[in-house]
């Protein structure tokens, strides 16, 4: 089992998060496709923290499970929260004029996605995926 926790305070931290997560995943037998997915998921979540909240953390945990490796990504922030969760999870909804595909995209890439948020307090996103392994690894 490997894990990592990283702080996000500004946009400049996003590439650092992505780089560290990729380094962590490179030590696991995850398939390239799934390493790519998890990298993108972390990038989306870190980006959202940097863009919408003041401060937050990204936590990644990966370990062997029945049928592959389970990867769990949790993003927590102390930010403004999300007033309308249903809207935030809908394709093309964005309060910043971006594509509005981050959260719904994560939903498509991962096995489960749970967003909890309280306005004025913060947001927590928990998402997991049972990942496949690189050919040749057990």
């Amino acid at each position: 089992m490997v894990s990592l926790e990283l702080d996000v305070r500004e946009e400049g931290d996003v590439p650092l998060v992505v780089m560290r997560v990729r380094r962590l995943l490179a030590t696991t037998p995850l398939s390239d496709e799934d390493q790519g997915r998890i990298g993108t998921v972390c990038s989306e979540l870190a980006q959202n923290i940097a863009k919408y909240a003041k401060y937050g953390t990204i936590r990644v945990e990966a370990g062997p499970a029945a049928g592959g490796w389970n990867v769990r990504v949790q993003a927590s922030d102390v930010g403004p929260g999300i007033a309308d969760l249903d809207a935030a999870l809908r394709d093309h909804f964005s309060s910043s004029g971006s594509l509005g595909l981050g959260l719904p995209g994560i939903g498509r890439m991962m096995t489960s996605l749970e967003v909890s948020s309280e306005v004025g307090v913060g947001t927590r996103v928990l998402t997991e995926r049972l990942c496949t392994l690189r050919a040749g690894s057990r």
Binding site: P15, R22, E33, Q35, G39, S43, Q47, L101, G105
Partner: protein
């Protein structure tokens, strides 16, 4: 072949929040420095300031045995200069009237110098610790009551810790500024928009793209398009490990902007992993011309500008069919 290799430089304000650092009022509040503390320090100053030359001797006897000695003090002129400044510094501390912005600024400057010359914080703290021992013990003449000495000792410690706080803060800020500068220097070198041929521009993008970098790429590309009046711009992303919606959004914007300027963008080097990610994210790349490899993109570019490659003996070259 034209090979102008246009390099575009962009400078950006450091976005790291307020670089003012610690101010005098905050320092006084945090370390609970009272006017009485300052009075006690000045009274102790009457004992140690006249012995400042002895401090200097004791300190440099110790300093000579430190690993930094040969690196920083091999030059005699420099050594004398540093010693003068150091004695002034301690005199300034022991004769403190009030902790104001000027007092703070003099200490911040020390932190910045230490960061610039690369003196380690460990060496700095060892020096502070040793100085404190010289002032509190070796130069103490035993003239105070135990109670008075205890109060003086606490007050002197507060001011020395205030010094250390300021130096550490300045040191940290100078170091992170250095890192930010290095990163942006790297960024400047990493958008080599190159004219591959008349009418054809190419940019290989390597590494993680964030918003700042995407902005740099956008302005570098648009400037090159304007300068060369290129008709085709190839952006090769085979060196980009991760795309997310923000990157996709930037790529879409770049292709739209070049199109407005009469230049068609071609995206190449889209790996299977990235293609899959784009599809799962739900990014609509319908309007973007994409090619799996740079070779394919180049072939399409030549065709678009009306160039046919032939070998020396007149056969069609470069086509795989």
């Amino acid at each position: 072949m034209t090979n102008s290799g246009l390099q575009v430089r962009t400078t950006r304000q450091d976005t790291r929040g307020g670089s003012q650092g610690v101010d005098a009022a905050e320092l006084i509040r945090r370390l609970e420095i009272t006017p009485e503390d300052l009075r006690l320090v000045r009274s102790y100053g009457k004992i140690v300031v006249p012995q400042i030359a002895a401090y200097n001797t004791l300190f440099y006897q110790w300093m000579e045995r430190q690993p930094e000695w040969s690196i920083f003090f091999s030059d005699a002129v420099r050594l004398t200069h540093v010693q003068q400044r150091q004695m002034q510094h301690w005199q300034d501390l022991f004769e403190v009237e009030q902790i104001d912005e000027a007092y703070v600024a003099r200490r911040v400057r020390i932190g910045e110098i230490h960061a610039r010359i690369g003196l380690s914080l460990m060496a700095y703290f060892a020096g502070i610790d040793h100085s404190m021992r010289i002032f509190k013990h070796e130069l103490y003449d035993g003239s105070l009551s135990i109670d008075d000495y205890t109060h003086v000792s606490v007050a002197v410690s507060k001011l020395i810790h205030a010094d250390a706080t300021l130096v550490l803060d300045a040191y940290t800020r100078a170091t992170s500024q250095k890192i930010a500068d290095q990163a942006s220097a790297l960024l400047e070198m990493s958008t080599p928009v190159t004219a591959l041929w008349d009418d054809i521009l190419m940019l290989p993008v390597v590494g993680i793209i964030d918003s700042n970098r995407a902005q740099d790429i956008m302005s570098a590309v648009l400037r090159s398009v304007a300068e060369t009046r290129a008709r085709i711009f190839i952006m090769d992303i085979s060196g980009v490990p991760v795309v997310d919606t923000a990157v996709a959004n930037h790529i879409i914007k770049i292709t739209r902007a070049t199109r407005l300027m009469g230049c068609q963008s071609v995206l190449s080097g889209v790996s299977p992993v990235i293609a899959q990610t784009m599809v799962e994210l739900g990014v609509d790349v319908g309007g973007i011309l994409t090619k799996a490899t740079l070779r394919d993109a180049l072939a399409a570019a030549y065709e678009a500008v009306g160039i046919r490659l032939v070998t020396a003996d007149g056969r069609a070259a470069g086509s795989r069919s």
